[in-house]
Structures are given as structure tokens and as C-alpha cells.
């Protein structure tokens, strides 16, 4: 891989470059085998009829046409967007507020931080099983709790009207990961900015609105992008709670779950590849949109804002 230095005098810069390429080779090779290759292959599969046993058969844009006519595709897209539109903003605001509170200098702050970050390290099947039972209308604890206030709790995961709300509540419990990142951002705000604001007579609210918030917009931006991508990958929770069906009455048939069903339950690999590429284009479009909008609302240090 690396030319042996002994044979021919190689310039120092040349040799340095060869070392660099050698060191990054594991990633470059992996990038070709596990990213570029599969991406191109799935683009090809998206134009074929493929069930993994027989070789793929070219059918042109049939999959794409079928996708547009597929009610379940639109349904799963709608559910995913609905969840994203509720859970993302709510989660961002919620975790930001928690981070602000956890950034204050109060006694026992480390204990509070420990508790708030805790749920984020145990994501996965166990958590989904736990929440499925907490929401259980008969034997769970949420509805008896609500009953104390005279509220008759809904059926949550057994009621198509309420399943998404239950998932949103569940996701809010696990916002600790976002909180960690916000907290890091909040701690990165230079203290002299606050001092300067204080000297100028800014109130606590003004200091937050004109110093803290603008200075942490890059972190909000980061969490927004990763949250968006995460929402379109949303899978484990709904798979575990609905047993892979996306029920009740397909109320939790998220895009990724429907894709999984097509690929690994019905072995419609071509159709699933079409779904994957449509997903890729949607996520790419939304990401670019957020990136574009970031010029308006994300403030980078050292960058002069001209109005």
C-alpha cells in the first residue's frame, strides 16, 4: 500500500501524504464497501423488482409510481412528520430549559445533573417495554395518577388517537442527551459577556435573551439537525411497543418501520430501496433547508452580523 521508501527517493511531502492515506485507509475502504457501494446499489435496486432470492429485475420507475399511489407510504410519512413537528420543538425547548436550570450554581447540582442525564444512557428495548406498561390503561401507573385529578386517562398505546402523544411523552423523558449538549454549549458562553451585560444594567431575562440564547444557537442548530435525522430513523420504540405491526390501527407505522416491513417481512427489497432513497432525499432537502435558514438565526463567534 505504501511505497517502500528505500527504492526510490521520494520527496518528504510525498511520503507524508502516503502515510496519511495509509492511516485513513480503514475508513476509505469502509466508506467504499459500506457507504458508496451500497448507496449506488440501493439506487439501482430502487428501479428493480428484487426479493433477494432471484436476481433483481429492471422495472424502471414502477416502484416510484407505486410509492406515490401507496396510501401506507403517505400515511407513514404523515405520522413521521406529525411526530417530528410535535416531539422535535417540544424536546428542544424542554431540554434547553433543563440545561439552563442545570447550569445554575446551586447546591447539589451534580446530583441533579446525574439524575437528568440518566434516562439517556438506557435507551432501547427495556425502556420501551417499561413505558408500554406505564401507559397501560388497566395496570399502568399513569392513568390512576391522572384519576387523582379527576381526569379519565385515554388508552394511550391501545388508542390510535393517543399513541403518538404517548410516544412524545416517552421521548421527553429521554431528552437527557440533548441536555448534555446544551449544557456544554451554555458553559462555553464567555463569562465576560455576562459581566459586560451586567455593567450595562441588563436584567437576568435580558442577559438570557441577548447573550445566552444567541451564543448557543450553534448548539440548538446541531441538536435540531441530529434530532431531525433521528426522527426519520425512529424505530426501536415503535417496533417493541407495537410488536412490529405499527399498531394500533397503524397509528405508529413510522416511515422507518414501514420500510423495515417491506424489506424484511415481505422481502420487497426493490420497493424498500425506493423508500430508502425517497427518505434520503427528504432528509437531505430538510437538512439543506435548515442549513440555509441557519444563516439567519445561527450566530457564530467571530462572525460579524450585518443587517
Amino acid at each position: 500500500m505504501v511505497s517502500s521508501p528505500g527504492k526510490r527517493p521520494v520527496s518528504l511531502a510525498h511520503r507524508e501524504a502516503l502515510w496519511a492515506y495509509a492511516f485513513i485507509a480503514p475508513w476509505t475502504i469502509g466508506f467504499i464497501i459500506f457507504t458508496v457501494g451500497p448507496m449506488l446499489a440501493s439506487l439501482f435496486f430502487s428501479f428493480t423488482n428484487y426479493n433477494i432470492i432471484d436476481s433483481p429485475r429492471w422495472i424502471g420507475i414502477t416502484n416510484y409510481v407505486n410509492l406515490i399511489r401507496d396510501d401506507l407510504f403517505w400515511h407513514s410519512l404523515k405520522i413521521t412528520f406529525k411526530f417530528a413537528l410535535i416531539a422535535l420543538p417540544l424536546g428542544l425547548v424542554f431540554s434547553y430549559m433543563i440545561a439552563v436550570l442545570l447550569n445554575s450554581k446551586i447546591v447539589g447540582i451534580n446530583i441533579w445533573r446525574t439524575i437528568y442525564f440518566l434516562p439517556s444512557v438506557i435507551a432501547g428495548v427495556a425502556v420501551a417495554l417499561l413505558w408500554a406498561r406505564i401507559f397501560d390503561p388497566k395496570f399502568g401507573i399513569l392513568n390512576p395518577f391522572l384519576a387523582n385529578f379527576g381526569i379519565k386517562g385515554p388508552g394511550w398505546f391501545s388508542d390510535p388517537q393517543w399513541a403518538i402523544s404517548a410516544l412524545v411523552i416517552m421521548s421527553l423523558w429521554g431528552v437527557g442527551g440533548n441536555v448534555i449538549i446544551y449544557l456544554a454549549g451554555l458553559q462555553g458562553v464567555p463569562t465576560d459577556l455576562y459581566d459586560a451585560a451586567k455593567v450595562d444594567g441588563a436584567t437576568a431575562w435580558q442577559r438570557f435573551w441577548y447573550v445566552t440564547l444567541p451564543m448557543t444557537t450553534p448548539v440548538i442548530f446541531y441538536n435540531l439537525i441530529l434530532g431531525l435525522i433521528g426522527t426519520f430513523q425512529y424505530f426501536t420504540e415503535v417496533y417493541v411497543i407495537s410488536g412490529g405491526s405499527g399498531g394500533p390501527a397503524r397509528a405508529t407505522l413510522f416511515y422507518n418501520l414501514y420500510l423495515y416491513q417491506n424489506a424484511f417481512r415481505y422481502f420487497h427489497m426493490g420497493y424498500a430501496s425506493t423508500m430508502a432513497w425517497v427518505l434520503f432525499i427528504i432528509v437531505l432537502g430538510l437538512t439543506l433547508l435548515i442549513f440555509r435558514s441557519s444563516e439567519i438565526w445561527v450566530y457564530y463567534e467571530g462572525q460579524l452580523k450585518v443587517k
Partner: protein
């Protein structure tokens, strides 16, 4: 929770006179503590529910609303049968009696265990059922046995630690390559690497599955382990950021001593970068331990399942045994929680040096 009660008092500094600003700060701190305590309580409730449910038996599961501490009805043996014991009031006197037979109109027949011949017909709602704490720790070994825990654990450990070894090995090399050398296109390649963070994994999922299927690796642990040997964007980025903080003078000194770049990496960079390596190892542990999507796709036979897939299937088969499911869930979340408590600082620092400031 005792901490929650103590903290607001402790925040009061032992000063006599408060200026306006000090009072204001004190009020803000008290409110902050109060909100944080309330939120912490809410966060802990699911954990308490998990633990409480995991040590109940079937009858205890049916109690609604579920008591936090598992309790069972006190019983007494009357004529060879276990009957529930009540504290009843007869002629204004409180006595302990067993309920032996239900009667219409919300009534029942009660007897004194000392004198079972004489029965009293009383309204059930007026009497108090006697209960005692009954904790079924035996749920744990029973649940683990039923779900074939040891096999699942072994598979999970293999995937987690072999994958971790592959990730540490490959990501160190790649991060070193991206942090210490100049080469044409290296910056472009680095941007390309970073852009893969935003790539939805589905777009490469199916051909990757087909590839592993062709290799005969489906239903083995290999598809979960081998890709880790080809580095990943998150960990390379994190390690690179850390490598860049290690002074270049150390590299140069090693170079003068005749060390090759590989030796410099092994003897200079790696020892210096231990905190960063520990961080990415911990994050990898959590990822691999909790991962469900890939094991679900690649592992088909029960002998090859990881804990995540095994637990999900256990639930699908025996959903009524909530106590066993919760016991198994509690065991599954224990290692991440232990790791978290031991490595708390790393969790907060780990994110700090990813340089997320944009």
C-alpha cells in the same frame, strides 16, 4: 429524595443581611432547586415502577392502582384453606377475622380463626384487609432462566467488546491520519467523513444486507462486528479533536529519535489520548449494548440473539408476565447505569471536546 428536601435549606448562606440582589438570587436559586427536584422526581418514577413491578407476583400485578411496595394479603388457614385476614369491627371491637364466604349485597361471612364455628355476616367495605410486604426476588433468576439470559449475554458481550476493539483500532489510525499529516484532498475526505453522520442509514441498509447474505454472514454476529473495523465518523471526529490538542513537539521529539509514524502513534499519541479513548469506548458500549435495529435484521435464530432482541422476543411471547419482563429489563439496564455512575465526568466532557461549537 432526602437530598431534594435538604437542598433548599442549604442554599441559604449564613449571612445576616441581604441586599436586594442577594435576596433575588436566593429566590431564583430556591425556585430552580424546587423545579429541578420536581423534575427529578418525575424522572425517577419509571425506575421505581420498574423495580417495584419486577418483584411482584401475578396477584400483586393485578392490584390497581399498583402499590409502590409489593404487598400481599395476609392469610390464615381455616379448615385446610388459606383465607384472607381482615381487621373487622364487631360490636364496636376491633378483631382479626378471616373472610370465608362471599354473600350477596357486598357482604361476606367472617370467622375468628380461634373459633371457626361461629360466623359473622359483615359488609366487606367496612372492614380492612390486612396486608404485608411481600417481595419476590425469585422473579429475577426465574426470568433470566426463561429468556436464556447467559447465552444472550455472551452474544451481546461478544458484539460489544469485539466491535469496541475494532472501533478503537480503526478510529485511532484514521483520526491520527486526519490530525497529523498534510496530503492533497485530505480536507475534502475529512468533510466527506463528517457528512456521513447525516446520512440516513437506510440508504445503505439493503445492499449491505445483501452483501452479508452473499458472504453467508446473516444469522452470525459478524455483520455487527466487522464493520466496526472500518472506523466511523463520530468516533474519528472525537478522537481527531483530541489528538489535535496533543503538542506536536512530542511527535517531533519521537521523530528525531527515529520513530516511525506508526511508533509515534503507539507510544506517544495513544498513551496521551487515554481519556478520549475511554470516552469513545464507553459511548460505543452504550450504543452496542442498546442497539436493536441491526441485531433484529441480522440475527434470526435464538442462539445468536443479543439481549435487546432476546428481551423483545421474551416480551412478545410472555407479555402477561409483566413481572418477569420488568425483572429482565432491570437486569438489561443495569450495566449502562453502573457504567454511567462510574464514568459521569467522561459523559459531560465527552461532548465538550467534540467541538460542537460549529
Amino acid at each position: 429524595m432526602t437530598e431534594a428536601l435538604k437542598t433548599p435549606l442549604q442554599t441559604k448562606p449564613a449571612r445576616r443581611r441581604f441586599t436586594g440582589i442577594q435576596t433575588q438570587t436566593l429566590i431564583i436559586k430556591s425556585i430552580t432547586t424546587f423545579i429541578l427536584a420536581a423534575g427529578a422526581g418525575i424522572i425517577m418514577i419509571p425506575f421505581l415502577y420498574l423495580l417495584s413491578t419486577s418483584v411482584k407476583d401475578r396477584d400483586q400485578l393485578r392490584q390497581s392502582p399498583p402499590p409502590l411496595i409489593p404487598v400481599a394479603a395476609e392469610t390464615v388457614n381455616i379448615n385446610g384453606q388459606d383465607e384472607p385476614l381482615y381487621e373487622v369491627t364487631v360490636d364496636g371491637q376491633a378483631r382479626q377475622m378471616a373472610l370465608i364466604k362471599f354473600r350477596p349485597g357486598g357482604k361476606a361471612l367472617f370467622v375468628d380463626p380461634a373459633n371457626p364455628a361461629q360466623t359473622y355476616e359483615l359488609v366487606i367495605a367496612d372492614q380492612k384487609e390486612l396486608r404485608h410486604v411481600k417481595i419476590h426476588f425469585e422473579n429475577y433468576p426465574e426470568a433470566l432462566k426463561q429468556m436464556k439470559f447467559s447465552k444472550l449475554l455472551w452474544n451481546t458481550l461478544l458484539v460489544t467488546f469485539l466491535g469496541m476493539a475494532g472501533m478503537l483500532f480503526s478510529c485511532s489510525l484514521v483520526a491520527y491520519g486526519f490530525s497529523r499529516f498534510r496530503a492533497p484532498w485530505l480536507n475534502v475526505l475529512f468533510l466527506l467523513l463528517l457528512s456521513t453522520i447525516m446520512l440516513p442509514s437506510q440508504v445503505r441498509l439493503i445492499p449491505t444486507y445483501v452483501l452479508f447474505n452473499k458472504l453467508g454472514w446473516v444469522d452470525t454476529l459478524l455483520p455487527l462486528i466487522i464493520p466496526q473495523f472500518f472506523a466511523n465518523a463520530y468516533d474519528v471526529f472525537l478522537l481527531r479533536q483530541f489528538f489535535m490538542t496533543i503538542p506536536l513537539e512530542l511527535d517531533e521529539a519521537a521523530k528525531i529519535d527515529g520513530a516511525s509514524p506508526l511508533q509515534t502513534l503507539m507510544y506517544i499519541i495513544i498513551p496521551q489520548a487515554r481519556p478520549a479513548l475511554v470516552s469513545v469506548a464507553i459511548f460505543h458500549f452504550l450504543y452496542a449494548w442498546n442497539d436493536f435495529y441491526e441485531p433484529l435484521i441480522y440475527l434470526h435464530s435464538p442462539d445468536h440473539w443479543t439481549l435487546a432482541v432476546g428481551l423483545q422476543t421474551f416480551n412478545a411471547l410472555y407479555a402477561v408476565n409483566t413481572n418477569y419482563i420488568m425483572a429482565a429489563s432491570a437486569v438489561m439496564i443495569l450495566p449502562p447505569i453502573i457504567l454511567y455512575f462510574f464514568a459521569q465526568k467522561i459523559f459531560t466532557q465527552g461532548v465538550v471536546f467534540t467541538g460542537i461549537k460549529g
